[in-house]
Amino acid sequence: MSKATTFAWTADSKKLAKHHISKYPEGRQQSAVMPLLDIAQRQNGGHLTIEIMEYIAAYLDMAPIKVQEVATFYSMYRHKPVGKHHVQVCGTTPCWLRGSDDIMAACKSRLGIELGETTKDGQFTLSEVECAGACVNAPAVAINDDYFEDLTPESMTKLLDDLAGGKKVTPGPQNGRQTSAPDGGATTLKEFIGKEEGA
């Protein structure tokens, strides 16, 4: 099931791992367990296995169960294989009020999968997450490391189409809004901005 039957750092991962360990005083290398788990998860294509956790435990000279405790505590460590694009729909109250149910429905119908499932081609995994911390731009969806915000069912479907088609997508608000600036342009200090623009 797991890709890594015998896991070992690649040269790049090892360099990165050493960098994180070097942030802590000697003998406190265990503090680096979280970044190392992340590095290993990326190297392994998106999820962790018992072997990887044991490898990291041995690498940091700590008990395997302590690594497992950390890895199971945080939801961003995955324990099952995920697709190339991990679609994480925020379902917490602000996003929900702004229509995350519709976003979720759009994902399900576009991808043809239920929550927690992966498409047959291994491209998409669909999950629901608790507050993504992007309430100002609700509803928000995280796909791998990028946030896509101010979504509508239509823009969500288009986004998934683009990803499936291998097109380049732009993270951030999907309705043309600049970051979390007021929707539809400035509402205050317009004159100041006008003068500046005019000058």
């Binding site: 169960i65 405790e69 199971t72």
Partner: protein, 683 residues
């Protein structure tokens, strides 16, 4: 020294004391689940909330250091409300299955819910359910009952030294488990059952066999190793239901090893409950009169120098003394207590006890172990050494077979001949001994059972003399594996040539009759053609070539005195009666002596004990440990090069009781399998 006021009473405590401990000193009970005296402070159950003046909200007393001038209230309305609230939250996910829970009747949660909780519960949603975990043959789990106090996790990491337990997932999904649901790889794992304040971890062998209130408690002493852990024997009717630890700060604190705790089923099976006499090739059941008559017949015309006796590892001093006296009436003094062929010497008491005491390990700053694996030979001592290493800066060096002792050791190889280098001061260990203020040297039976054991004893004695013995500190220790050994040495039960001499003389036909007092750790095939009288409890090695079998009482069935490896005398109590016709050992010898026409001069236990006290002056000082007078012992000789073989290969296989125990066999299998598995995946 902070002085604080608790419920109006002023109390002065040592710096570093917590508010909870201060409350206890003031005689105020504070409820708690996660706090435990011998574990680190977690502060996660919140049950110990108390009110502190000038604090805006209740404080967790277990985690709050006592400060000067603090005013603490534990009986206010706010505290009552806080406790009720915490209790209500704890009970939200705790099933109300007390009637089918083994912990019922001795459950902290049950008791504290009664004392500090509300009468009802306002929660009517579904409770969470947690899948039970597999934790091996000793621990039964019902994880839905777990309240996440983390005591078991802290115990395994801190005391047992096997960080294999942990809490996975988080929040409502949190689950306690052993790593990959394996058996806890420790000889001390059973203690988590005592630590668990609820019924999440309970004893598997004891499961659903008794309720705590039906049991009769007898305070006794364990004989599974030479530590002499204090135990409580819980019996119902004639059956021993379980063993629990009894607090003894100087010996076992409040832990006991798995062997001590779980070998109780071995007391019920393979027992000798009638006398047997060999007729032709078969052993035939006999009554006591017939058996004694058979002994008398067998002794006819046998000279004193044709008789020998070997006493076993579980023999109490009373039995050994009575056997010695009986042998005396037969004209023989060839009675040997060192079944394993150890070269420990009787005579100088300081030469065969642990002079510093077990608790003395905490005072020591360097410990050199020669042929000792305390983890297998005395898990309680190993726990104490681990504690000293963790908290008191003890450094440990070993000469002997390499083993994982759960703490860091400097291994100096397993070649005994390096002792010469240590003695001459050139070796690293010698430098460490010299630099230490209170150095200890501990020699084990593995080293002493070698052919050159007497020379090893002499070498360790001389090393101790050079580095470890001063006016107020005697760092010489001998670790025994047999509960009866120090008692036997106190009684002087040693012979020239030892046990091997007796066996080879028997093989050569020089011996006509041998008494075996529960001696099961020898190869009795040498006694095939010798008349063997076996006095013991179990049908084990000793009965294989026995001609007359006299059934005796096990340690839970008699009043016996044992000297532990520290030389501390302790007494067992009679918790149940011996099965069938079995009798207490010393009464057998007393009755036999009458049949043989030379009655031993004691009719009751008190008289026998007075008789022993004449030979062993310290005998009547129960539960006293002190260093003995230093002297010379051992025989100077050449220590041959070569490895010291481990004294114990299978922890669960060391005496007739544990060999009869199915639970111990299961443990052996569970942990043996684990070792193989580990090498499989790691290699």
């Amino acid at each position: 020294m902070p002085t604080l006021t608790i419920d109006g009473t002023e109390v002065t405590v040592d710096p570093g004391t917590t508010v909870l401990q201060a409350c206890e000193e003031a005689g105020v009970e504070v409820p708690r689940f996660c706090y435990h005296e011998r574990l680190s402070i977690a502060g996660n159950c919140r049950m110990c909330l108390v009110e502190m003046e000038k604090a805006p909200k209740p404080i967790a007393s277990c985690a709050m250091p006592a400060g000067d001038g603090m005013v603490i209230h534990t009986n206010t309305e706010q505290v009552k409300k806080a406790r009720e609230g915490v209790m209500e939250f704890l009970l939200i996910n705790h099933p109300l299955d007390c009637p089918i829970c083994d912990q019922g009747g001795e459950c902290d949660l049950q008791d504290q819910a009664m004392a500090f909780g509300r009468g009802n519960n306002r929660y009517d949603e579904n409770k969470r359910a947690v899948k039970d975990k597999e934790m091996g043959p000793l621990i039964s789990t019902t994880m839905t009952r777990c309240i996440h106090c983390m005591r078991c996790v802290r115990f395994s990491e801190e005391v047992a030294g096997v960080p294999d337990m942990g809490a996975l997932y988080r929040g409502e999904n949190m689950q306690i488990t052993t790593y990959l649901e394996k058996t806890l790889d420790s000889e001390m794992s059973g203690n988590v059952v005592d630590l668990c304040p609820v019924g999440a971890l309970t004893s598997k062998p004891y499961a659903f066999t008794a309720r705590s209130w039906e049991l009769k408690h007898t305070q006794s002493v364990d004989v599974m190793d030479a530590v002499g852990s204090n135990i409580r024997v819980d019996t119902r009717g004639a059956a021993v239901m379980r063993f629990l630890p009894r607090l003894h700060e100087e010996i076992n604190e409040e832990w006991i090893s798995d062997k001590t705790r779980y070998a109780f089923d071995g007391l019920k099976v393979r027992r000798l409950d009638a006398a047997y006499v060999r007729k032709g090739k078969k052993l035939v059941e006999a009554n006591w009169g017939e058996a004694f008559a058979a002994v008398k017949t067998a002794l006819k015309g046998v000279k004193g120098n044709e008789i020998a006796a070997i006493t076993g590892d579980l023999a109490d001093m009373e039995s050994m003394a009575a056997l010695k006296d009986l042998m005396g009436t037969l004209g023989s003094d060839r009675i040997e207590c060192r079944q394993d062929g150890s070269h420990a010497e009787s005579g100088t008491r300081a030469g065969y006890i642990m002079n510093s005491g077990i608790a003395g390990v905490e005072d020591a700053d360097y410990l050199l172990m020669v042929g000792v694996n305390p983890r297998l030979e005395a898990p309680i001592l190993n726990t104490r050494i681990r504690k000293a290493v963790r908290h008191f800066g003890l450094k440990v060096g070993t000469i002997g077979a390499s083993a994982d002792l759960t703490y860091k050791v400097d291994e100096y190889g397993d070649d005994a001949s390096v002792l010469d280098a240590v003695l001459s001061g050139k070796h690293d260990a010698a430098k460490a001994l010299k630099a230490a203020k209170k150095p200890m040297i501990m020699v084990g039976q593995a080293a002493l059972a070698r052919v050159d054991g007497a020379a090893i004893l002499k070498a360790t004695r001389d090393i101790a003399d050079k580095y470890c013995v001063s006016k107020d500190w005697n760092g010489f220790s001998m670790l025994h594996n047999a509960a009866g050994r120090v008692g036997g040495l106190d009684l002087g039960l040693t012979t020239d040539g030892g046990v091997n001499g007796i066996l080879s003389d028997a093989r050569d036909g020089k011996l006509k009759l041998v008494f075996l007092l529960g001696a099961d750790e020898i190869d009795t095939s040498a006694l095939k053609d010798t008349m063997v009288v076996y006095i013991g409890t179990h049908g084990d090695e000793g009965v294989k070539n026995a001609d007359i079998i006299l059934p005796a009482a096990a340690y839970t069935e008699k009043l016996g005195t044992y000297a532990n490896t520290e030389g501390r005398f302790q007494r067992t109590e009679k918790a149940t009666f011996a099965p069938g016709a079995a009798r207490e050992d010393w009464t057998i010898f007393r009755a036999l002596s009458e049949v043989l026409g030379n009655t031993l001069p004691y009719d009751n236990l008190a008289a026998l004990r007075t008789r022993i006290a004449k030979d062993v002056p310290e005998f009547e000082q129960i539960d006293v440990q002190k260093a003995a007078e230093w002297g010379d012992f051992g025989t100077k000789g050449k220590i041959a090069q070569g490895a010291i073989a481990p004294a114990i290969e299978n922890f669960y296989h060391t005496n007739p009781i544990v060999r009869a125990s199915q639970i111990m066999a299961d443990c052996s299998e569970a942990r043996g399998g684990l070792v193989e598995e580990a090498t499989g995946t790691n290699g």
